[in-house]
């Protein structure tokens, strides 16, 4: 049974809904990725050559694009999560819309920096 109230279009247009939805989606996708990431890293137990064989799999373009997306998701989840902690533990200053904007900008900046450095 759903324990969440049904939201109308007006509520969903609010920037806080965007912050909520992007935080959930990025968190969910990161949760799916983390076990895979740890699995690849745990192959280092096979030594450098065994580990390299698994790392070579990430040379496929799908994985490279995926890594790029995950860095953006991580940045979005970090900034969006900081916003939540500010709302919950900081002095009350409303829904911190500036943090929602900062989340988007930080995600974009990390995405561009990744492309620039990874070449």
């Amino acid at each position: 049974m759903r324990s969440r109230p049904k939201l109308d279009l007006r509520a969903k247009k609010h920037s806080s809904y965007f912050a909520y939805a992007s935080h959930r989606l990025s968190g969910l996708l990161l949760a799916c990725f983390i076990p895979l990431h740890f699995f690849v890293l745990s192959q280092s137990l096979r030594g450098a050559s065994g580990f390299e064989r698994y790392l070579e799999l990430t040379d496929f373009w799908v994985f490279t694009v995926g890594e790029w997306g995950l860095v953006i998701l991580l940045a979005i989840h970090l900034a969006g999560g900081t916003r939540l902690l500010m709302i919950e533990f900081g002095p009350w200053r409303g829904l911190r819309k500036a943090w929602t904007q900062a989340t988007v900008l930080f995600g974009m900046a990390c995405g561009i920096l990744f492309l620039y450095l990874a070449n």
Binding site: S3, P35, F39, S44, E52, L113
Partner: protein
Amino acid sequence: MGQVMSQGVLQAKLWYAQRISAMVLGLCVSIHLVIIFYAIRGGLSAEEILGRTQGNIAFALFYEIFVLACFVHAPIGLANILQENFSKGFISQGLSWLLAALILILGSTAVIGVYSGGNI
């Protein structure tokens, strides 16, 4: 009544656990992003990664703390999403515990792996 009360207490404890772990993760993820940007220059190789991490106790401790914070944080978040959108039953609890086990076991194995480089 008692069960309703204990459910409420459990929810409050889980809420706190997720927030405290979020504070730890905020620091860990910030540092991890810097390491990612440093490490991806010129591509990743096993030797390069192990060169940084093998025998480095500070790296190992940092990443084990990171794994433990993930182990607390992610399954609670997954359970919340599943319970609010689908069901409060066995499936959401089971999937969350599965995620917790995967993170703890694979994560700790990964930390031991990059610390030892396979020489155990």
